[in-house]
Symmetry: C3
Subunit: 300 residues, 3 copies
């Protein structure tokens, strides 16, 4: 694993660092906007007084902290793989490159000593889980990794209530940031309640310190940070297009691994690109909050 | 975490200690009987030659071993939360108080060095899991925590066979205490087989020593101890009232987190309080056996 | 735990060792062929330049490396239990003997410092999991144990796609050995894709070294090695007899723990013994490959 000089120095000096995932760059956004967003998110981290550490694997080497060339490769190299935790050792041994998911990023960031990670939405339990097994490894990684993930909930194409139940079953702590309702990724609220609420980055950092004091199991803290209501996707539009997309997937026989990209693309098109803007607004907000939490944590 | 002086001294001297959970006090019994039972259970531990360590969180401080004032607060403070493992860090950071579930109690007891824990029944897989995800975090905690839990099985309002399967899937050791059938909480037997059987506290302590010798994974040992046949709830009454309660829950649309308290209350009322007496008989028996196992363990 | 002198010396000297499970001897094959196969598999390991370490529990003592007398006991003693990880402590404390499953073998081998393990097929998710919980503890053990398991996939009487999903959900790395399709145990291919592929024992050993370099979670590497196409069970015969067996199980009300032995026996009879020969061909191939991977690992 290679930690960039800037990140290594910040960690050594106890200065705030925020990890960023790279699948949003490689698989989540069209070129060339993806590179612009990657650079913008790093800048948002810096504005909050923290050092950005985008995570990926390049030529078999897990990297925590990418320079401009590294970001450029993730944004433009064709055929990059998505790497979860279980893919890291094969990718390293076979010398491949890839973008890291929430699972892969959480693991590598935590190993490097980075405690705060910003992303858009978590993976979770797929709709249709009553007949087809499909649960993202993100949940298992977070159940076994001490990291704080700032996210806007779970992608709404998944089964959100089932995902929240799995997070409870697997002991991942979840707190709402200035909300009593779990965010709905594109939407301010998913309608589901959340048990704990914090009002400030300092309160979130306090929970992280309590995790350290308790010791024992290494589990994550999810800080669920809603997209601002005025930047969310129109809820009626969301519900209508998502329902259409689910019907279309069924009619066209789209199943398995293919269903997530199909639905995300369907949402982008069916909302005239508004779902992408809401997604980006959520990611920007999460990144800024992660920077503030990292700063509060470093100050503790 | 604060360990009471008496518990700390017993642990330092290698004397037997038994952890007790606190949700039975805060949420499981009506006032003022709950405080009487809390004191009675501590006394049962003492009679077995062990030191009781009731576990809870007071003003954000996890406590292992409560004095009379602490028990009184758990028995009487309105609005106390139920705290599983994943709630401990938020509660600590936010300075709140709460009673600990099997999950929260197991974690805190094990961290304090207490190896034996007595409770009534474990949480598990909810009926209806084929359409709604709902599995207690108790199972995951026991899959990751080296503690011996003496219980009378799994609350019969849950799906007992599914819960036993999950305990197998997640590698939690289960032994029957003088029985080849898994107990039925209110009932002497659930009708389900159990693979291992011990006859004495010394045999249970022997398995704990074997766990230590094997090393590696930290997993729990469940000692499943049936309520004596002459103190059990009448099986026909149990089955009839439970079936009625399940029907009533469906008719009235009671779902999710609300279903457990609804069914437990339905059983108490529908059995004229007999389910509560069987529950208490089970807890008393488990507490006495836990004391004897802790003594055998300390003597080893 | 007792590690045989030969195995202990090999481990101390950094020479290659391959663990072998014992339930195939005790429960998987008829006498006296089972002992012959046990000896043959050990010989295959030796021919690959490695030391065999058959794993079992004898008189309460976990053993890694059995002599001829030990193998003989596993092959002939009536009423031997099948021991997964969670059964090891009870068996040890109660002084019993038993054969170890993939779960029990993986745990004991890893504890003894053996990194490579050869078996036939893994346990997994049972067909019918949408209505009855039943998932082998093998998956949880592999999710928590750093060992390399060479196998020919998952027994085809199970739900193979669901099992592959669970391995993904629980973060177990899976690579195909010279194949892009997950093997089908009796069959060269299950028809399911596998994400990673290695061409040589050295590449597999490279992934194991990458696991060590990454550190952190202890998870397994599954090297999925197909039975050679010319030694596989005839696919049409397999599909027909398996479908018949599943129908027969339903008609006769065979359920729960009884269904696996019923279906395996049905396959043996319905294929005129050909399923057993394909099974053995798979195990032989896995054992030889495990020997070569252990050698490549020891040379690293
Ligand atoms: Mn998936
Ligand atoms: Mn629940
Ligand atoms: Mn099973």
């Amino acid at each position: 694993m290679r930690v960039s000089d800037e990140v290594a120095e910040a960690l050594a000096a106890g200065r705030p660092v925020v990890a960023l995932e790279s699948t949003i760059i490689s698989h989540g956004l069209p070129q060339p906007r993806n590179l612009q967003v990657a650079l913008e998110l790093e800048e948002i981290v810096r504005e909050a007084g923290a050092v950005p550490a985008t995570v990926a694997v390049l030529d078999g080497v897990p990297r925590v902290g990418l320079d401009k060339d590294g970001l450029d490769r993730i944004a433009t190299e064709p055929g990059l793989r998505k790497l979860g935790y279980r893919d890291l050792a094969p990718a390293a041994a076979l010398g491949l490159s890839g973008a890291t998911t929430v699972s892969g990023t959480s693991f590598l960031a935590a190993r490097a000593g980075v405690r705060v990670f910003a992303t858009g939405g978590l993976g979770g339990v797929h709709r249709g889980w009553t007949s087809v097994q499909d649960e993202s490894a993100d949940i298992d990684t977070l159940s076994r990794t001490k990291i704080t993930v700032v996210c806007a909930g779970v992608k709404s194409i998944l089964d959100v209530p089932a995902t929240l139940q799995r997070l409870e079953t697997k002991q991942v702590s979840v707190v709402g940031y200035r909300t009593d309702e779990f965010p709905g990724f594109y939407l301010h609220s998913s309608g589901e309640p959340v048990d704990w609420r914090v009002e400030t980055p300092e309160e979130a950092a306090g929970i992280m310190r309590a995790q350290d004091a308790l010791g024992g199991l290494e589990t994550a803290l999810i800080v669920a940070n809603p997209v601002p209501a005025d930047l969310q996707l129109d809820p009626d539009l969301h519900d209508r297009v998502l329902a259409e997309g689910l019907r279309a997937a069924e009619e066209r026989g789209v199943t398995g691994q293919a269903i997530t990209p199909f639905l995300l693309e369907y949402l982008v098109e069916g909302t005239g690109g508004a779902s992408l803007e809401a997604n980006l607004a959520a990611v920007r907000g999460n990144t800024a909050l992660a920077g503030r939490i990292a700063a509060a944590w470093a100050a503790g």
